[in-house]
Amino acid sequence: MKKKIIVTLLVVVVISVFAAFAPAEQEQTVKVCVSWNEKVHSLIQAWQDYMEMYAAELEPETGIKYEWIVNVANGDANLQNNNIQDCINQEVDYIVARAQDSGTIGAAIKAADAAGIPFITFDRASTSGEPTTHVGEDGYLQTRTTAEAFAALLKENGVEGKCIELQGDLLDNTAVLRHNAWKDVEEELGAWTTVAEVPTEWKAEKFYQGALNALQANPDANCIYVASDFAFSSVENALSAVDKLAPTGEENHVWVAADDVNPMGYEAMKAGIIDLGTTWEAYSVSVLFVDTLNKLVKGEAVEKEYLISGRLATPETVDSLEYLYSLDPKYTD
């Protein structure tokens, strides 16, 4: 009898030990191909870091371990489609891409669809094919927020705006949405007139030369809209060249609305050169993306798109915004 009790106890102990150390759920490894169109500024690195970090945080809870396969197309839409094809050949489970060209990413979406791989467009929506879902920020709403606040600011200060618009790369759907929002608010509120539209192709040299030429051609211009502040030193240099680099409150100040609040934009906002802008969120969008990916992995239904809106920032409020990646020294350019 004594022997039986000892054996039973031993069995119970062994089972308990196994139970204690066994994983609550079977861990699942998921291969995700991340196709960046380019890495022109720290925001893209921040997105990637936050995605990996948040997914790793959730791993013990969800049991989903992500293996990230990252490639960068250096601004070449064809190369991006080739990179995605390489991912398809490697039989990844999911593909996420930030399109270089919204009009050509459709070919990659179709190729992934043919291979049965779910495709998520990130940040830049596709205009040439329908992905499984889209995750990003609403570019139209972002600039609308900026433009409406800018109109109020100009009116508050009794300024009749004559603005220069520094546009992005019009192959990029987000740049088009920002341009449309700027035009719409201009027509609706009449707080300014756009005296020059300058295409920059998101190149620092073109921001500089375009801004300088537009400022010289329109000496009465008193405001600028910058579609992204990632290379804002170019705009500062152009303003400086025409002796108009002055913070708010000074006589020769040019009113500036600049979107994104990237590290260079943050610095200029703190210096009083940029009057306001709306954030292009790194952390929140990455979190939204990982949550959406988890839903797909678990076989849950997803919506056609998940969009968040940015937050309005001014020199007074910018430091109080939580999870602003521009404040992370790791991403200070």
Binding site: E38, K39, V40, H41, S42, I44, Q45, V72, N74, G75, Q167, L170, V195, A196, E197, V198, P199, W202, K203, A204, E205, F207, Y208, Q209, G210, L212, N213, A214, Q216, A217, P219, F230, A231, S233, S234, E236, N237, S240, A241, M264, Y331, D333
Partner: protein, 336 residues
Amino acid sequence: MTGKTKKNFSFRNFLFRYGFLFVLLLVIVYFSASAPSFFSLTAAISVLHTAAPLLVIASGLAFVIMTGRIDISVGSIAFLSSAVAALMISRYHLSIPLAVICMLALSCLMGAINGFIVVILKVNPMIATFGTQLAYRGIGLFLTNSMVVSLPRSIRFLGNKKVGPIYVDILFSLFVLLIMFLVHTRTQIGRQIVAIGNDISIAEKLGIKEKKISFFGYLLCGLMAGLGGIVMTLQVGGVTPTSGTGYEFSAIAMLVIGGISLYGGEGSILPGILIGGITLAVIETGLNYVGASVYVYSFVRGGVIFVSMFADALKTQIKPKAKIIEDEESSTILAK
């Protein structure tokens, strides 16, 4: 005497030599009529300021193209050397002169690598420099982690410094053009480069050390790309991952417009490159001034490059025929 003068004048030659000057004049007239503020000293200075980085880069590239070869890695050389210098100054707080010296040494090294691959290993110049174009940019992206590297505020605005109404970088680029002009016209190396571009085998028979001179061309091209990179970086106050992209084609277009043949052996640094540079910059600046539709820019840029290349090809096709006619005429005169 009068008859001789008439015979020497060829409208075709005149058109080929000065055709782009007429185009430039027409373009200036058009933009001046469309945007009244365009015909001003400020706009003229702005045109030269816009052209400054490319004038420097093109002046080096000319020495490669005149040998009948090509280098399409100049934009990447400008990017990588600028990125290294910006990192040394901004992140590692090294002194500016030291960073500039390292940058120029690095750009010479990149030019020397191009020269070694093309001249010594005899790899096709287009393929070789396409490879190094990708490689140099890749190294630059790796070093910068594909981020913008901004210059410290203390030197960020140096690109806007002026002497009177003129930007310092305009004076610098004109000085570089003058030096390169003297190297091209007043030195043995300059003449040997032209001779190689005309015919390598004849140049070798004349005792010209073709490999050495061609290698020097690539080295000089690398150095000038680095110097152009400095001008470019100071203008925008930092280096972005796209800095210098497309510069190779703009520089080539600048040279061809300025009369430097892609087939080698022909052209001048002054006024050639200056005319080419001004033509391109006038178009770019003019489009800004008239507030052209954003979709017009690429079309016009592409059109200008196409027309200049076509004119170069046409010139090369027509030239031998013209030469034969001239030779026949000379023979007839001699026989008489």
